[in-house]
């Protein structure tokens, strides 16, 4: 009776889950490297990574698959962490980066460059990033009234996102002969991404992951409730702002390189919470690992199932989202 701890609480359990996820991480990474139009054996993978022998496997692995898998992992980490943070800060287990306008902001500005100024294609990433941060800032300012209330953020988010979405539709109508190119961006895709995209997102992932884990306890206290947190001495407004900004950067950097990839920020942290609980000191690493695993596996699937054609990975995620929502529905 004294040690009446449920399984979920044993520290050992949480660590085991994280260890399992770490293993899955390596397995999915290696798996993704072996699969494709060129099947490469595991042993060969290590050979061509360590040495440039000019073989076709080296060409493909080094320039195409390796950066792509790394990118999938990084994007998975960013989006999952962002969702986990927002679900805590907004006290809403179904929040995700789109709630602070990241998707609509990145979408509008990205589409403007893609469709209206296709000759400036190099600017898409920057434009999308700026659009995302702009939307998030507008939403935050709109919902500020001596402090932030979650409901105001939601309402502001809906208003801004609707406006931006209307903008996107408007552009697509005016340039309806160019919609084709926009669709991949709207769904999220890792097609033909390589090292440049990796270097773009990497600093955000590293800084974001480190900061999130250092300050995990602040978020733990925040979700005890604003009044309680304040009573213990937490600067509630600063903590909320800081974490929201962190979530915004993580998500914005991800969608700017792969497009509007949804569902990861929602499914991953929510699932992890069901298994491991709310303690962010464990939640963050677990969520990051699961996010990357999910995305790596999904992208490998998207590339290989209809080879040599590619499905945008965002569509695979959307399809996965449906059974997930049904599962949630059953649990209600």
């Amino acid at each position: 009776m004294e040690n009446d701890i449920s399984l979920r609480d044993k520290k050992g359990f949480k660590i085991t889950v994280i260890a399992i996820l770490a293993m899955l991480f390596f397995i999915s990474f290696i798996l993704g490297l072996t699969k494709g139009t060129l099947e490469v054996e595991v042993k060969r993978i290590f050979e061509v990574i360590s040495k440039d022998d000019g073989s076709p496997e080296r060409m493909v692995i080094w320039n195409i698959r390796l950066p792509r898998m790394i990118l999938a992992a990084l994007v998975g980490i960013n989006l999952a962490l962002s969702g986990a943070i927002l679900q805590g800060v907004m006290k809403n287990p179904l929040a995700d980066p789109s709630i602070i306008g990241i998707s609509s902001g990145a979408g509008l500005f990205g589409i403007i460059v893609l469709v209206v100024f296709p000759q400036y294609i190099k600017m898409v990433t920057i434009a999308a990033f700026m659009g995302a941060m702009l939307a998030a800032s507008i939403i935050y300012l709109l919902s500020w009234k001596g402090g932030i209330k979650t409901i105001r953020v939601v309402l502001a988010g809906v208003a801004v996102s609707s406006l931006f979405a209307a903008g996107i539709s408007g552009i697509l109508v005016f340039y309806s002969d160019r919609v084709h190119g926009a669709l991949n961006f709207m769904n999220g895709s890792l097609s033909s991404r390589s090292w440049p995209e990796v270097w773009t997102i990497l600093p955000y992932t590293i800084i974001g992951f480190v900061l999130a884990n250092i300050f995990a306890d602040k978020l733990n206290i925040l979700i005890l409730g604003d009044d309680v947190a304040r009573g213990i001495g937490l600067n509630v407004e600063a903590t909320r702002f800081g974490f929201t900004a962190l979530a915004a950067f993580l998500a914005a950097s991800a969608v700017s390189v792969v497009g509007l990839l949804g569902f990861v920020g929602l499914i991953v942290p929510h699932s992890i919470r069901l298994v491991i609980g709310n303690d962010y000191r464990y939640m963050f690493p677990a969520t990051a690992l699961f996010g990357s695993v999910l995305l790596m596996l999904s992208d490998t699937f998207a590339r290989t199932v209809l080879s040599p054609m590619e499905i945008p990975v965002g569509i695979v995620m959307a399809v996965l989202g449906v059974p997930f929502f049904l599962f949630l529905l059953r649990r209600e």
């Binding site: 076709p56 320039n63 294609i121 084709h180 895709s189 590619e310 529905l329 209600e332």
Partner: protein, 346 residues
Amino acid sequence: MKKVKFYKRILLPLVVIMLIFSVSGCTKTTETGGLSNTQDLPITVEGNNYPLKIKDFLKKETILEKKPEKVAVLSGTPLNIWYDLGGKSICTSNITDNLKLISEYKKEINDLPQIGPVYSIDMESVVSLKPDLIIAQAGTQGTQADKLRDIGFKVITTNIRSYDDVIATYNAFGKILGNEKSAEAKIEALKNKKEEIVSKLPKDNKSVVILYITAKTIAVKLDNSIAGDVAKILKLDNIASDLPPDTIGSETTPLDVEYIVKKNPDYVLVTSMISDDEEAKKTMEEEFKSNPVWKGVKAVQEGRVIYLPQQYFLYNAGPYYSEAIEYMAKSIYPEIYGEVTHQDGK
């Protein structure tokens, strides 16, 4: 509160997805109707004299009692062919630089009232001009064509992508204009030019991939695109030949770059959305240089990249279709056909 959030989470993504699909659905039409079958002609005319029965691309039948006097041709390529056969139009869609108009009629055509861009014409303008016959483009103007028919106008829809489509259209328009002789002559000229080019082809076929790059996504053009058709005429092996299109009637499909590396085509032909050919070339060269995925494609690394000008390969050149064939032939086999000279009159 939770339930409301939940519905928002389902409805919103569903709606967005539906939005995307519906948008893509109605705009796929730019590229619809590549060559359906070689058996089905895109346009046929029954009868040798008026009254004529015309069966158009969307399989609608139109009966013309007599030769129409006021004809509205709503898009560039059929307009070109129409004028080439002595026809006149009372209006035109917006003329872009990329449409190669027959020089004889260029000024005349430019002076015509313009009724908006091809994919978004002003129906009221068309209606107020009270044409006897409307010739619309099946892909982008299909719904408008139906509406105009409902109002009571006679409407024919065309779809001109391939060489065979061009021939069929010349035949059909020739009959409608009562100018069969001219049509036959033009067709003969096109055929002769084509056969002249084909006869000089070397024995070994080269392989190609026709890229349509938009925003970092690699799609390839299939055989039913203009570029694909020209490539087929030149007996080039399109590595994407037997791939299915991304939607019904589309002429493109998304492609994993690894496949291109594996198939190692001799030439990479490039098309894009960028309207200015110079800009397009610059942008593409930048992409090839900065994106490591192209390191595995030998054609790119060794400079065997050909940038296809929009006026021949995105828009159907109609009367100048043989020049499109010549352009590609020269690009790939300059030793046989000579170097490509850059076109003026843009």
